[in-house]
């Protein structure tokens, strides 16, 4: 007995964003259906997975997270190359040392680090600020200039600092990550504000603030789902690729940080599982760019994406 597959008729689609330079450009977005339903619409681009690099050696990362990288953690350019060796589709450089509570590194110094990393690898770059809104405005402006023409994805812009960051990205040819704290209404509003400065819609990515498994994963999932359905029903202001900053969230959890114990088993397996499960959940919610920390999580996540994409054949 033949079963007729019920297909939705969507009228909208997610904007397609290109990051990086030839020959290693990456395209994300462009979907005209829900994730992994190629019989119903276009799924032109797979989600991409990157690894996170810091501009200073991380002191409180668990040993099992430091171990795969070893000495590379002391030098961002070396660390970035190692990420590419591990199979990262892109490198995410987090300029954490610039935070006033860290080393308060100057924008010029941070820009120099960004340039060094850009010269070390040819995959596309995501550049994240230090998390202080005021510092990030100056910091990311300097970085945007230093990486002029490299078509990076720079974040995170918030309602308080988006003007400077957006202007720099427009002038120097980058895309912007617009960040909101688990609030779809603010996410939409921020996209509108950034686009009003004449940055094209396909140069804006959404960071909805993802929570790890057990710490709000489903909240971010539901926001991403609503945004995707909005995009597919014609809402251009939510029709952007979503960036999921996963590693920085999952490695804060006690499930990741607690050492081997009777109840919870081995830390090595548990922490990678936490990061991987969070990642594949957000792949299912429509995430296009996933930033992880552990190379094993990267491998698991990429295997999952390949299997989900292969399933249609």
């Amino acid at each position: 007995m033949a079963v007729a597959i019920v297909k939705e008729r969507w009228t909208g689609q997610v904007a397609e964003m290109t990051i990086g330079l030839e020959p290693k450009t990456l395209k994300v977005g462009g979907e005209s259906t829900l994730p992994f339903l190629p019989f119903e619409g276009a799924c032109p681009n797979q989600p991409v997975v990157g690894l996170e690099v810091w501009d200073m050696e991380p002191e409180d990362w668990p040993d099992i997270l430091k171990a795969p990288y070893g000495d590379a953690l002391a030098d961002p350019a070396t660390w970035a190359r190692k990420c590419v060796d591990f199979g990262a589709d892109l490198v995410c450089l987090r300029l954490i040392s610039a935070h006033p509570d860290q080393k308060d590194t100057s924008p010029e110094e941070a820009a120099a680090t960004a340039r060094a990393v850009a010269e070390a690898v040819d995959v596309p770059l995501v550049i994240l600020g230090c998390g202080s809104e005021e510092k990030d405005a100056a910091l990311l402006a300097a970085v945007a200039e230093a990486l002029a023409g490299k078509n990076a994805l720079i974040g995170c812009a918030t309602p308080n600092n988006y003007k400077t960051i957006t202007a720099s990205c427009m002038v120097h040819g980058h895309s912007v990550i617009a960040s909101s704290p688990l609030d779809i209404n603010l996410a939409k509003q921020l996209n509108i504000l950034i686009n009003e400065m004449n940055l094209p819609l396909n140069r804006i990515a959404i960071d909805p603030l993802v929570g790890p498994l057990g710490y709000g994963l489903e909240y971010a999932y539901s926001i991403m789902e609503r945004a995707r359905i909005g995009a597919l029903t014609g809402d251009k202001m939510l029709a952007m690729p979503v960036v999921c900053l996963i590693g920085s969230e999952t490695w804060k959890t006690k499930e990741a940080k607690t050492e081997d114990n009777q109840e919870w088993g081995e830390q090595a397996r548990r922490s990678v599982l936490w990061e991987s499960l969070t990642a594949v959940s957000f792949v299912q919610a429509g995430g296009s760019i996933l930033i992880l920390r552990h190379p094993e999580s990267l491998k698991q996540c990429k295997n999952h994406i390949a299997a989900m994409t292969r399933a249609k054949e």
Binding site: N185, L186, Q189, I192, A227, G230
Partner: protein, 264 residues
């Protein structure tokens, strides 16, 4: 909620004179202005002073002139099939034919024309006997339109049924019947036909027309109204349509919802 901007109509003096003098200026001014104010369609009506022989050429000129200034599609508003067809021939994109009634001889002309030109079609829930009062009688006429859409292969979502609202002062009992008719019309087929009304009719010769227009529009949207022929210069009306989309959870809220509703 789709808004059909009513301003390019030869009954307005500036449009009538523009037609007479072949002056593109006023046509393009109103095309652009209605687009900026949030219209989804531009209603194009040659008006009462253009003779039947001249209507096709005037319609074609109006459509081309308007579309040179605006990205919007046109709603071709005429009782002359020749004029409608002349407009369809030069129209860029998918047009909306305004309109057929539920009289069979008219449906026999307009449904095939809509299918031939890939256009959408407004169908009036009236026939030779006029406009019935009862919601179910209106729905029965609507069913005739639905059956003809099905017969001719016009996609159901391309049929816009107008249950025909009458003025609230002299035909006050029709008001609630139209609302109920909209609700019933949406249930006539799956997928549903669309619905529309000429909103200004509800307030003809009434006090505070704009208040009546926008209040009635909101009431109708809740019952299933998909579109209306409106004055897009009425900012409060357009704002009310935007607010209704938010309140019915049809569009994700953001603080700039009044602006995004108007963007094309």
């Amino acid at each position: 909620m789709e808004l059909i901007g009513e301003r390019i109509n030869g009954m307005f003096t500036d449009i009538k004179e523009a037609i007479l003098n072949k002056d593109a200026g006023p046509i393009q001014y109103w095309a652009k202005r209605q687009e900026e104010k949030g219209a989804h369609w531009l209603d194009i009506n040659t008006g009462p002073t253009v003779s039947p022989e001249e209507q096709p050429a005037v319609m074609a000129w109006l459509v081309q002139t308007a579309q040179a200034a605006s990205v919007l599609p046109c709603c071709l508003d005429s009782t002359s099939p020749a004029a409608i067809e002349a407009g369809l021939k030069v129209h860029r994109g998918q047009a909306l034919i305004n309109s057929t009634s539920a009289e069979q001889n008219k449906m026999d002309v307009y449904f095939p024309m809509a299918v031939q030109y890939g256009a959408r079609l407004i169908g009036l829930a009236m026939n030779e006997a006029g406009v019935p009062k009862d919601a179910s009688a209106r729905a029965a006429l609507a069913m005739e339109l639905v059956v003809n859409a099905d017969m001719h292969g016009l996609p159901m979502e391309d049929l816009y049924i107008d249950p025909l609202v009458l003025p609230a002062n002299v035909a006050q009992d029709h008001g609630p019947e139209v609302i109920e008719a909209i609700r019933q019309i949406k249930l006539l087929a799956s997928p549903s036909p669309k619905t529309t009304i000429g909103l200004s009719n509800v307030s003809q010769r009434c006090y505070d027309r704009r208040l009546l227009n926008r209040t009635y529009m909101v009431m109708c949207i809740t019952a299933g109204l998909d579109s209306a022929i409106v004055d897009t210069d009425d900012d409060l009306l357009v704002d009310a349509a935007a607010a209704t989309e938010i309140l019915l959870n049809r569009s994700i809220y953001c603080d700039a919802y009044l602006k995004t509703f108007r963007q094309r």
